[in-house]
């Protein structure tokens, strides 16, 4: 066997080269854009971040488009999580290997808009008679930068209050509408035996979303209007974290460990270890099928006002695209055709993102059947995104540090937020 080794090695190396060559050719044919292709089909590359079931739904949507358009072939490719897609997009823009259309997590849109790599879609919209007013205002917070409309909403979500109504009914409690209600209800749900919590009141994943929601409910803004510092210096931040800390100390709030926190709170909610949770609208579909109690959703409780940030992703047209007209046709179809975005929204449970979708009979029928989803859409009237700044992705890491210090290490709230303010001002100056 030993004697044969180099021969085997050589043969294998040759085969490998051959195979690598083969697959090279095949992909060239399958996915790259043959500009002079005989059949005259234009290929549009579309990068997205949807895995799992939602990945299936978007693939089906792309398939429906391709079946009805014989001049355009859209190739959808999964590029990892939202963050990973951003990394890939950054390197692809530099290498000129980027897609025609990309999905962008809404908070990253500004960064790319500032780099001027996203196309202004205004002229295309005019041509297709699409108007900014066709979209719910709450979802348009990350679309226009420097007077250019660079992204349109697509798979959007918001945080919402998920309630185990059976558990609340057992104690004769109403669904909380204000922070005070929340405190009372959450405390009433706590079960403590031998100094150990058997049941907590409510929970939320380890994320910046929820503290930001609460700061805006306290009438604060995450960044001030000038974009130079934080906008919750009048005690809104301190109030938020004091409230959370107080609830955490009595067991009314279970604050999960950072790693995999979303799954942990979902599990606790489905198993009745908590009665309520702040969580994305994205989980409604799975929860509805997998819980054994009366499950309802409600607005996030208000302090001074109702308020919610938004999440999810938008679609953007890349400036470097060579097929902008074909790419726009796909975007326009996704926005307006009942077989496009509307069907995707019905399948996936993301928020309807045009007013037409909201008024469509399909959406009305779904809401009739699942009022939990309607609550999510209705809450959009209070949607406000105040953490808008090019430096947000960086500053987010600082905010996470502050959350960790307060929620896990019991650090002093005022001084932690002071440190965060200084860090923010340093980052926003750049």
């Amino acid at each position: 066997m030993n004697k044969r080794f180099p021969a085997v090695l050589l043969a294998a190396a040759m085969t490998t080269g051959l195979l690598a060559g083969c697959s090279d050719n095949k992909t060239e044919q399958a996915s790259s854009n043959p500009s002079g292709a005989p059949q005259g089909k234009v290929t549009v590359q579309f990068w997205h971040s949807l895995g799992g079931k939602n990945g299936d739904y978007i693939n089906e949507m792309i398939k429906r488009f391709n079946e009805t358009h014989d001049k355009i072939e859209v190739v959808g490719t999964f590029q990892g999580s939202y963050d990973e897609t951003v990394t890939k997009l950054q390197q692809a823009v530099a290498a000129k290997t980027g897609p025609d259309i990309t999905m962008l997590e809404r908070a990253y849109v500004q960064m790319f808009a500032d780099a001027e790599v996203l196309e202004d879609m205004t002229p295309y919209m005019k041509k297709s008679q699409l108007n900014v007013d066709d979209f719910p205002q709450g979802l348009m917070g990350h679309s226009t930068f420097n007077k250019k409309l660079v992204s349109l909403p697509f798979n959007r979500s918001t945080p919402i209050l998920h309630v185990n109504k059976t558990m609340l009914d057992e104690k004769g409690l109403a669904i909380p509408k204000t922070w005070d209600d929340l405190k009372k209800v959450a405390n009433a749900l706590v079960i403590k035996e031998n100094g150990e919590f058997k049941r907590y009141g409510f929970s939320m994943p380890y994320d910046t979303w929820y503290p930001i929601a609460m700061i805006s409910q306290a009438k604060g803004k995450f960044y001030n209007d000038a974009g130079t510092s934080i906008g919750f210096t009048n005690g809104e931040g301190v109030k938020t974290f004091k409230f959370l800390k107080e609830l955490q100390n009595t067991g009314a709030l279970y604050y999960p460990p950072a790693q995999d926190s979303g799954n942990i709170v979902n599990q606790m909610f489905t198993s009745g270890k908590i009665g309520m949770m702040y969580q994305s609208t994205g989980v409604i579909g799975s929860l509805k099928d997998n819980v054994k109690f009366d499950y309802v959703t409600a607005y996030l409780p208000m302090d001074q006002v109702y308020a919610t940030p938004t999440g999810g992703a938008n679609l953007a047209l890349m400036s470097a695209s060579a097929n902008k007209d074909a790419a726009w046709e796909f975007i326009n179809w996704a926005m307006t055709d009942p077989k496009g975005g509307l069907q995707f929204i019905l399948d996936s449970g993301y928020l309807p993102f045009t007013k037409k979708m909201v008024e469509s009979p399909q959406m009305k029928a779904l809401w009739e059947k699942e009022p939990n989803r309607k609550v999510a859409y209705d809450q959009l009237q209070y949607a406000v995104d105040t953490n808008k700044h090019v430096a947000w992705p960086q500053d987010m890491q600082e905010f996470f540090k502050a959350i960790q210090a307060i929620m896990y290490d019991n650090k002093d709230i005022e001084s932690t937020l002071d440190t965060f303010k200084k860090e923010t001002e340093r980052l926003l100056k750049k």
Partner: protein
């Protein structure tokens, strides 16, 4: 006298008896510790397999479900039909095998030269190899991507193979191993007119099988499981490996179908277990051989 003898006897008997007590105790303690270690290592695997056979509802309960009530073999079908898994598997196999073969072709002569040749700059060049071993992929991926994109290779499997053609850690490990092989053996072979390639083939390789098997195993596992590099180097499904396919099973938002993801992971891990079983046999065999030198 007699009393003394007796006391010596009892002392001996005592020590024998205590040994008889201590030995099994020690043995069983060792056994228990080994069992504990085994459980620690095997637990994640069992957990993965258990989850792969549960329903979504079972994965969502807390405290966790240990044994699924009805094994859900359909999860495997669902995981495999979620994307072009045959392509992913084919790519994974081509990429890892090519890497191992190319690495061996580069590594063995390099290590042989570093270990057995005396030439100017040997130490310096070896130092540079070690330097390469210390630079993480996260530092080099952007320039490498730009280079390969310039060369128009992004749509092939090559960006996942070329950067790993040389394995600095492998060269290092193999050089240390080669250095232990007595120089007289090589001298003797040269007297018999053996070529340098012949020496590598019939002396260096057979005598360093444990090191080679170890390096190949490490290399296989790290490239088979690699997610970061394929993620940044590939833009289309046709050139992606299994790890990317499995990452695609995750939900971006909302509740992930852990049972499906774990089924995908089982499929990903099985080849590693097979290769490991094969490699561990090789390692043991090679150790037995090297004992006779």
């Amino acid at each position: 006298m007699l009393a003394q003898e007796k006391s010596v006897e009892t002392a001996q008997a005592y020590s024998i008896r205590s040994a008889a007590v201590i030995k099994p105790f020690r043995k069983s303690l060792g056994f228990l510790l080994k069992l504990l270690m085994l459980l620690m290592f095997i637990f994640p695997f069992l957990w993965m397999i258990s989850t792969a056979l549960q329903t979504l509802e079972e994965t969502l309960t807390f405290p966790p479900t240990w044994i699924p009530s009805v094994p859900q073999w359909i999860n495997f079908v669902q995981a495999m039909s979620a994307g072009p898994f045959a392509t992913y598997a084919k790519n994974s196999i081509i990429i890892t095998l090519s890497i191992i073969i190319l690495q061996s072709a580069v590594m063995i002569p390099a290590a042989y030269a570093f270990a057995k040749y005396k030439f100017k700059g040997n130490a310096l060049m070896f130092g540079m190899v070690l330097l390469a071993f210390m630079i993480p992929g996260q530092v080099t991926f952007i320039p490498v991507y730009l280079m390969l994109a310039d060369a128009g290779l992004i749509k092939s499997l090559l960006p996942q193979i070329i950067p790993f053609m040389s394995n600095a850690f492998g060269i290092f490990l193999l050089r240390q191993y080669f250095m232990q092989i007595p120089h007289e053996l090589i001298e003797a072979a040269r007297l018999d007119n053996a070529s340098e390639l012949g020496i590598m083939r019939s002396i260096m390789i057979p005598m360093s099988m444990p090191a080679l098997a170890t390096i190949a195993l490490f290399s296989f596992v790290s490239h088979w499981n690699d997610y970061f590099w394929p993620l940044v180097m590939t833009d289309s499904a046709s050139v992606r490996p299994l790890t990317m396919g499995i990452a695609m099973l995750r939900e971006t938002e909302g509740i992930s179908n852990w049972h499906i993801i774990m089924a995908g992971n089982v499929v990903l891990v099985v080849p590693i277990l097979i290769v490991y079983m094969f490699a561990s046999k090789q390692i043991v065999k090679a150790f037995v051989h090297s004992g006779i030198k």
